[in-house]
């Protein structure tokens, strides 16, 4: 793969951090974006990958434009975007303050819209580009205790499809990746608690959460030229979660050696 230039948002941790590493290993030059509160973590990822970085609120109108400008000024072009920034609140819907609704939509939907449109304006000048939005199995299901997150990810899937249709004429492909359970800082408390986790893992045929690198591998494929006829697709990466129902109730203690992600070579 020849050297490409990519923006990754939500790059300080979890899936975004893994996407950054995977793209860097493939020789991609990176401009990484994360929220101001995550600036320290973002800077250390950027230093490790010799990447540019920008700590700013993706839901504010100027952030995406600044990221595009930085990528183009520093690396001369923009080929790919992994628009990945997202937040979630887990809470009883009757207790959820309106501020959480606004914050979730601000980052997950408004931020996604701003990042894709700003990047596409630059890509359209050159008649090519590829964008992958991070959706979720929550784009399709009413997952428990996260009504607003589910709605925001439903919107992300619809944005990805709509952008794919509208941006095809400019030579830009847009897809979404829809992860299920992934072992990240956002989920580690649940995954680490056997009482909580046994409930969730009983729904996952592969009987484990994904490693973030396994989501990143799909993002890399969708960005790559090999996916040249793949656009408007929402690709589930969920270990079989949404393929159907299992009635086997796994007890977390029943298996001494729970399955783990294989070690992937670069």
């Amino acid at each position: 793969m020849s050297e490409r230039v990519a923006i990754v948002t939500g790059a300080s941790q979890g899936i975004g951090c893994a996407i950054s590493h995977t793209l860097a290993e493939a020789g991609t030059r990176l401009c990484l974006v994360a929220a101001p509160a995550d600036e320290d973590a973002l800077r250390s990822v950027a230093e490790a990958l010799e990447a540019e970085h920008l700590a700013a609120d993706i839901g504010e109108p100027e952030t995406a434009g600044r990221a595009v400008e930085l990528a183009v000024r520093r690396f001369g072009r923009l080929d790919w975007v992994a628009s990945n920034a997202g937040i979630a609140y887990f809470e009883d819907v009757l207790d959820a303050p309106l501020a959480h609704f606004d914050h979730t939509m601000h980052v997950n939907v408004r931020g996604m819209y701003l990042m894709v449109t700003e990047a596409a304006r630059e890509m359209a000048k050159h008649g090519q580009g590829a964008i992958v939005c991070t959706a979720s199995t929550a784009s399709f299901a009413g997952e428990e205790l996260q009504a607003v997150y589910n709605a925001s990810k439903g919107a992300v899937a619809q944005l990805a499809r709509s952008f794919a249709v509208d941006l095809a004429r400019y030579g830009i492909r847009v897809n979404a990746v829809a992860p299920g359970w992934v072992r990240t800082p956002a989920t580690e408390e649940i995954v680490a608690n056997p009482a909580d986790w046994s409930k969730h893992r009983s729904r996952i045929p592969m009987d484990r959460p994904a490693d973030p690198s396994e989501i990143a591998a799909v993002v890399r494929f969708l960005l790559s030229d090999e996916a040249s006829y793949v656009t408007g697709s929402v690709v589930l990466v969920d270990g079989g979660l949404t393929a159907g129902y299992r009635f086997t109730d796994w007890d977390a203690s029943a298996r001494d050696d729970p399955p783990r992600a294989p070690q992937l070579s670069a």
């Binding site: 090999e226 793949v230 992937l264």
Partner: protein
């Protein structure tokens, strides 16, 4: 650089033309030991030649009729005898009723034939191969966007692809504990001999071809190789958490 499916044994059906042929070449390029199978001996021979050209290694090539259980079982036996296992099962054998009969005009023979090839053939191949697939194995069924959307005068084909998609999901659940992943690739309109068979019957082939292209916002048909890239991805360890999924490769045809 080592290939993305280096050293894996890949049994490919429907390998005589179009997508299946491109899958054989793509898997071979990335280091798989490909077993080329198709019903038509001449097509098998040509794919075999293309694979040898792509990877410098003469592949095993067999004439197999997926609609014939004994033929499928014999092929799997031969592969297992030769390689000891099957890592990748890429099932592409499929037919269309190109004359597009309305449901009330569809004969018993037509209905049974298309289900036998498109659905029962995949069942035969999976049933025979699964006992020989190790953890880390991957099954990739060639479904279609017709698994999700319907076209007029294509009810039997649409029904087989819907069935194949649901078979894929059910098998994914069943095989997850064994570490075998099962997915489908769901192409839109692809430039293959199967698509040509519709164009050939048309009064104005170039107008129909333009209509097919316009179905995608990219305003073109996909190529067999573009679909093969998707099969390679799902077959490889890069897709290690992807199971029970239909990867749509349709140039956004079904997104709008």
């Amino acid at each position: 650089m080592s290939g993305r499916v280096e050293g894996k044994v890949a049994l490919v059906t429907g390998a005589g033309t179009g997508i299946g042929r491109a899958v054989c070449v793509r898997l071979a390029e990335e280091g798989a030991d490909v077993v080329v199978t198709s019903r038509t001996a001449a097509n098998v021979a040509e794919t075999r030649r293309l694979v040898a050209e792509a990877c410098g290694k003469d592949p095993v090539a067999l004439s197999v009729d997926v609609a014939d259980r004994a033929s499928v079982d014999a092929a799997v036996d031969e592969v297992v005898e030769r390689f000891g296992r099957i890592d990748i099962l890429s099932l592409n054998a499929g037919i269309e009723l190109v004359h597009g009969p309305a449901v009330v005009e569809t004969t018993d023979e037509e209905w049974e034939r298309i289900f036998r090839v498109n659905m029962t053939g995949a069942f035969y191949a999976c049933r025979a191969a699964i006992p020989h697939m190790p953890s880390g194995g991957s099954i990739v069924n060639m479904a279609s966007i017709n698994a999700f959307v319907a076209w007029e005068n294509d009810a039997p084909y649409t029904a087989t692809k819907g069935a194949l998609m649901q078979f894929t999901r059910a098998l994914a659940l069943e095989l997850a504990p064994q570490g075998i992943r099962v997915n489908a690739v769901c192409p839109g309109v692809i430039d293959t001999p199967l698509t040509d068979s519709f164009l050939d019957r048309s009064e104005d082939a170039s107008a129909l071809r333009a209509d097919y292209a316009a179905a995608s916002p990219l305003n073109r048909l996909g190529t067999a190789r573009e679909v093969a890239h998707c099969v390679l991805f799902l077959a490889s360890d890069e897709a290690s958490f992807v199971t029970g999924t239909g990867l749509v490769v349709d140039g956004a045809t079904t997104a709008r």
